[in-house]
């Protein structure tokens, strides 16, 4: 299929952020190297579709493997996205390798594909929301960086931490907490910006004032009525949008292909089902990991164990692992399950505790303790700095790839209709 091959290579090179990080799958490489034999006997079809499904299973298994990066870490999330993108690419080439346009448009495959892309469109909004979430984390990082810089030992290491530095760090961490809590508590009562937890010296009126202003929300001036503090960032999705609902729409009532459909589509019905499941579980894990609007993991998803889908086990295992993580007690109120968010919370809480009721000048132990906490902070900062941008680009890539694949396939679906009337 020379036409398919050339279009696939041109489309990926035209992508704004072309990823070379994940190689082309074996399958698509094969299609690139030389055209498959012209006789599309069913057995070849079946073999390639099986290979696609098995590869999807392997990719998901890799994510759960003990060698894999810690689950729901930035690193792991990037792996997850890589795996998704590989699956999508293979799915695309399986479709094009097997089905001539006319075959794609034939029932029931046309219906199955239309259903799949309906779900995929919902994943696009999710990508945008996730991008906002990553943006939020980027701002969090800035507050962390402030705290880290404030507590950084001076070059010669001779000076001690002063009251100002400690207060500055605490203020940055308080701002950070508000930023992360954002919509949940509307920041009310949390805001006590510059003065640890004990206002003093008649500045009481000030702290009070701040609280009342942030509590009522429109101090943000954003006009969005978000009820969040003036630092809060606006989302790119509308206010009524809900990640939780979106997840349900992506994974809800995903039809298991009937044996009859599988047979009549030459196995492609299974490939569509596979892709939909991978899409769901990816979206599920991303929503779990990254802050986004109305994040909730209520969507249920099951794959029949008896359906002979090699990826059923890995998908379910991944789903369960993420679900388990979300049930973890100290993560329940987190804006995201991302390990790094946990680290942010942990080390900023630690620092707040260490510096709470500090006595100046700090004694050596205290100073060491603060420096230790600050060191953790610096490390989280570094991880975020290195990981957020690539992850955001990948989320964007996911967006573009879904759009492109959808356009290509829907084009195919609409074209033969016109031709048949000739």
């Amino acid at each position: 299929m020379p036409a398919t091959d050339s279009s696939s290579s041109s489309s990926s090179s035209s992508s704004p952020a072309h990823h070379t990080s994940f190689g082309r799958s074996i399958l698509s490489l094969r299609h690139h190297g030389f055209p498959p034999t012209p006789d599309h006997s069913h057995s070849t079809d079946d073999r390639e579709i099986d290979a696609f499904q098995r590869h999807a299973a392997d990719l998901l298994l890799d994510l759960l493997h003990s060698d894999a990066p810690e689950i729901l870490s930035l690193h792991w999330t990037r792996h997850l996205l890589d795996s998704f993108l590989i699956c999508l690419e293979e799915f695309r080439s399986v479709l094009f390798a097997h089905a001539h346009a006319a075959a794609l448009a034939r029932a029931p495959l046309d219906r199955l594909l239309a259903d799949f892309f309906d779900r995929a469109v919902k994943a696009l909004d999710l990508c945008n929301a996730l991008r906002d979430g990553l943006d939020l984390l980027r701002h969090c990082r800035k507050h962390l960086a402030i705290a880290a810089a404030a507590l950084a030992p001076s070059p010669a290491g001779a000076a001690q931490l002063g009251e100002g530095q400690i207060r500055r760090a605490r203020k940055a961490l308080t701002d950070l907490t508000i930023l992360m809590l954002d919509d949940k508590d509307a920041g009310g009562g949390q805001r006590n910006r510059s003065f640890g937890r004990a206002p003093k010296d008649g500045h009481q009126g000030r702290g009070h004032h701040r609280r009342s202003s942030s509590g009522s929300g429109s101090g943000s001036g954003s006009g969005s009525g978000s009820g969040s503090g003036f630092r809060s960032l606006s989302w790119s999705v509308s206010r009524s949008w809900s990640a939780s609902r979106q997840l349900q729409a992506i994974g809800g009532n995903l039809p298991v292909p009937r044996p009859h459909d599988v047979a009549s589509t030459g196995g492609l019905a299974s490939a569509v089902y596979t892709m939909a499941a991978v899409l769901f579980v990816t979206a599920w894990a991303l929503v779990a990991a990254i802050p986004c609007q109305d994040r909730g993991l209520h969507a249920h998803f099951t794959v029949p164990r008896t359906g002979g889908f090699p990826w059923a086990g890995p998908v379910t295992a991944l789903y369960d692992r993420v679900l388990d993580e979300s049930k973890n007690k100290d993560r329940k109120h987190s804006p995201g399950l991302l390990k790094e968010i946990h680290q942010i919370e942990r080390c900023s809480r630690h620092l707040m505790e260490v510096t709470d009721a500090a006595h100046f000048p700090l004694d050596h132990d205290k100073e060491a303790e603060v420096q230790g906490a600050a060191h953790e902070l610096v490390q989280v900062c570094e991880t975020l700095k290195d990981g957020l941008d690539p992850l955001e680009r990948q989320v964007r890539e996911m967006f573009h790839r879904i759009v492109r694949t959808r356009t290509e396939i829907l084009d195919c679906l609409s074209r033969p209709n016109a031709n048949t009337t000739e």
Binding site: S7, P16, A17, V121, K122, D125, N128, H139, H143, I146, A149, P155, A158, A159, G162, E163, G164, R167, R168, K171, A172, S194, A198, P199, K200, D201, G202, H203, G205, R206, G207, H208, H209, R211, S212, S213, G215, S218, G219, G221, S222, G223, S224, G225, F230, R231, S234, V237, S238, Q246, A249, A357, F360, V403, T407, R415, N417, A418, T421, E422
Partner: protein, 724 residues
């Protein structure tokens, strides 16, 4: 060095190096000085505020605060006298004197004989700065530059304490280390005040940044609430803030340092910008640049968001847009285009300008990064909608809106490119920093490229879909009277409109159209202008389609009329629009004209050729000089019958184009009327006048002209009436 544990809450209390009494006096003195002017009138309120605010805090804290409050009350006439023995009240060293002392200390650090500075001086200086801040709280001009363009005294004080703090905490050689050891208490005192000063500046900075437009909206929706007050005066230094709690109406002119009534795009008058810049300078000098840029970035992001909202643009999810009915979406697209063009042409440059003016000098790189981030963020939000529109189901009527969007994106790209290229030539020394801004803009640029391609592909695909919709139009029912087919009418008007987007479409086809494998070969020769090729393809298809439709007519003459009508309509539309004419070209129009003439000839031959044959003396009427009367009678009968038939049928045919109608009539008359007149002239005499003449000669030359004049009226009724 002894360490005295000092809880943060009690920090301003001094170490034991001062006598207990001194400590108290110092503290009272500071408290007094913080609120010196208004203290007596506000003392009760302060106490109350303290209690209110402490509700959330622990009881212990609350007690402490109340205690502090009452201590202030006691201190109303107790002047702090520091350590100099019994100076008169209020005769502590002035800020100016203290500043001079600090300056000397700072200056000496670079020299051979560094001066030392006493804890007391440090403390007094810190306190004096606090006083300065508290006193200028209500001063509208606190950030205004002093006379002779000097920096405002408040900023000078803040800068000095920042420099002092860094001198005390830094370890620049022996002095620094020594400083840290020797002035421990002073360090905490100085850095503590510095931090509070910075927090104060940050709040003020944010307040000043609030867009007057935003403030206005906020007021409208939320009048008199605590938040509206916060717009004007966020929590700030000193007691005065407490007084604000009772205010309800805020004069808008105060909100932004006299910036009320300014345009949304240029919200900041020069003096506000001046003040913002002074604050930025102070914050950056004290090492608070991240706080500073964060506040600025978030405030402007929200302001841009609000600006978008006020332009009517609301965020919609892709899912919703894809499902939206076209009528609704069409309106949304209009709004989007307006908003997008505004942001690109006005909003960005205003933000760019603001960033450049507020972050000037050595802070330029900060402003550049902020602008890049702002631009990226605001634009990406808008592009979501574009992506969504490009994903909606394709339909012919969407073409023009998609092209409008395409043009908006296309026209916006060079503006972003221009910003980007200004980033790619970084100012010296700013390389590493400017790269993050360049990256954001490069990211934005690639998103613009991608979304533009998506729109372009969509537009090209919609236009190409015309082919299939023409093919699909294969009705078996001929249009009555051979009139212009609705398909012709629709398509030609559509194409005329399409050609008003000619330049854009040519670009779209050149840049974004991937020819489908199935129709690629035919296009290669004309690849120089694939749009024109596609348009011609459509015209040819229409032509073929019409020829096929013409075969639905059983009457060949009517078939020709149908082709003439439709061909004429196409030609008229092409000639009537310079744009479409330019694409289609004169050669094509000539060819079509030739076709039309051929149809005309076909019609003439088909209808009138037969009639002429009746009138021709082909050797049957006159034989050897003798007129054969029976033949002549038969000819007249035939002629009358033919005219009867023609009048009946062709009077009902439709040629709505007046020119074509008259051309047809003229050409018919030119052929048939003279022939008939001459026929009459030659043979009428052979009938006997009266009955015979009446029987065979039913039409005069004028009658014939009259009949011809009423052909193609599409009106059968008038014919029959006339016949009778």
């Amino acid at each position: 060095m002894e360490r005295i544990p000092i809880p943060i809450a009690m920090l301003p209390q001094k170490s034991s190096s001062f006598s207990q009494a001194t400590v108290r006096e110092e503290k009272l003195g500071r408290n007094l000085s913080l609120g010196a002017i208004k203290l007596t009138e506000h003392i009760e309120r302060v106490k109350k505020d303290a209690e209110d605010a402490a509700a959330a805090a622990s009881d212990k804290d609350k007690d402490k605060d109340v205690a502090a409050g009452s201590a202030e009350g006691d201190a109303a006439d107790a002047a702090g006298d520091g350590e100099t023995p019994a100076p008169p009240p209020h005769e502590e060293p002035s800020l100016a004197e203290l500043s001079a002392e600090v300056d000397d200390f700072l200056a000496s650090r670079d020299g051979d004989a560094p001066l030392s500075i006493s804890e007391v001086t440090l403390d007094r200086f810190a306190s004096a700065v606090e006083v300065e801040i508290a006193q200028s709280e209500d001063d509208e001009d606190k950030w205004a530059p002093g006379e002779d363009g000097e920096q405002p005294p408040l900023l000078a004080a803040i800068r000095r304490i920042a420099t002092l703090a860094s001198a005390l905490t830094a370890s620049g050689g022996n002095n620094g280390a020594e400083g840290a050891v020797r002035y421990t208490i002073g360090v905490h005192r100085v850095t503590g005040v510095l931090h509070r000063a910075m927090t104060f500046v940050e709040d003020e900075f944010h307040e000043l940044l609030e867009d007057p437009l935003v403030a206005k909206i906020s007021h409208a929706t939320d009048p008199g609430s605590a938040s509206a007050k916060a717009m004007r005066r966020p929590p700030s230094f000193g007691h005065a803030a407490g007084a604000e709690q009772d205010r309800c109406v805020i004069p808008s002119s105060e909100g932004s340092g006299g910036g009320g009534g300014a345009e949304a795009s240029q919200p900041f008058p020069a003096e506000t910008v001046e003040r913002l810049r002074a604050m930025v300078d102070a914050m950056v000098a004290a090492g608070y640049e991240t706080e500073c840029t964060e506040v600025f970035l978030v405030a402007r992001r929200n302001a841009l968001d609000t600006a978008l909202l006020s332009l009517g643009y609301e965020k919609a999810s892709i899912d919703d847009v894809v499902k939206m009915a076209w009528e609704g979406l069409e309106t949304e697209i209009g709004t989007w285009i307006k908003a997008f063009r505004h942001i690109v042409n006005v909003g960005l440059s205003a933000e760019h300008d603001l960033c450049a003016r507020v972050f000037a000098g050595s802070n330029t790189h900060l402003g550049r990064d902020i602008f890049a981030d702002l631009a990226r963020c605001a634009m990406l939000k808008m592009l979501n909608f574009t992506e969504a529109v490009a994903m909606t189901k394709r339909a012919a009527e969407k073409l023009f809106k998609v092209l409008d969007m395409y043009e908006a994106i296309r026209d916006g790209a060079p503006i972003v490119d221009a910003y980007l290229s200004s980033y790619e030539t970084p100012e010296k020394g700013g390389d590493s920093r400017s790269s993050s801004g360049a990256e954001a803009l490069a990211d934005l640029k690639s998103e613009l490229v991608s979304v533009r391609a998506r729109l372009g592909e969509s537009a090209a695909a919609i236009f190409c879909d015309l082919e299939s919709s023409i093919r699909a139009d294969a009705g078996k029912q001929p249009v009555p009277g051979g009139a212009v087919h609705p398909l012709t009418r629709y398509l030609m008007n559509y194409l005329k409109y399409v050609c008003e987007y000619k330049n854009t479409l040519e670009q779209v086809f050149r840049e974004h159209h991937r020819p489908d494998s199935d129709d690629a070969p035919g296009h290669d020769s004309e690849s120089s202008n694939p749009f024109a090729a596609q348009l011609m393809e459509v015209m040819e298809l229409l032509h073929d389609n019409l020829e096929a439709k013409s075969r639905l007519y059983k009457d060949l003459a009517l078939s020709s009329i149908f082709l003439m009508n439709n061909g004429r309509y196409m030609l008229q539309k092409i000639r009537g629009s310079p744009e479409i004419n330019a694409v289609v070209g004169e050669a094509w129009a000539r060819k079509r004209s030739t076709d039309l003439r051929q149809y005309h000839k076909n019609y003439q031959r088909e209808t009138w050729g037969r009639v002429l044959n009746v009138l021709r003396d082909d050797g049957g009427i006159t034989v050897k000089g003798h007129v054969q009367k029976p033949v002549l009678k038969e000819r007249f009968k035939q002629f009358n019958a033919a005219m009867d038939e023609i009048q009946r049928t062709q009077g009902a045919w439709v040629v709505s184009d007046e020119q074509l109608q008259s051309e047809l009539r003229v050409s018919i008359a030119a052929v048939i009327v003279p022939a008939y007149r001459s026929f009459l002239g030659r043979f009428a005499q052979h009938f006997t006048a009266g009955r015979q003449t009446e029987k065979y000669i039913k039409l005069s030359g004028e009658d014939l002209e009259g009949i011809i004049e009423e052909l193609f009226e599409g009106n059968a009724v008038s014919m029959t009436r006339r016949r009778n």
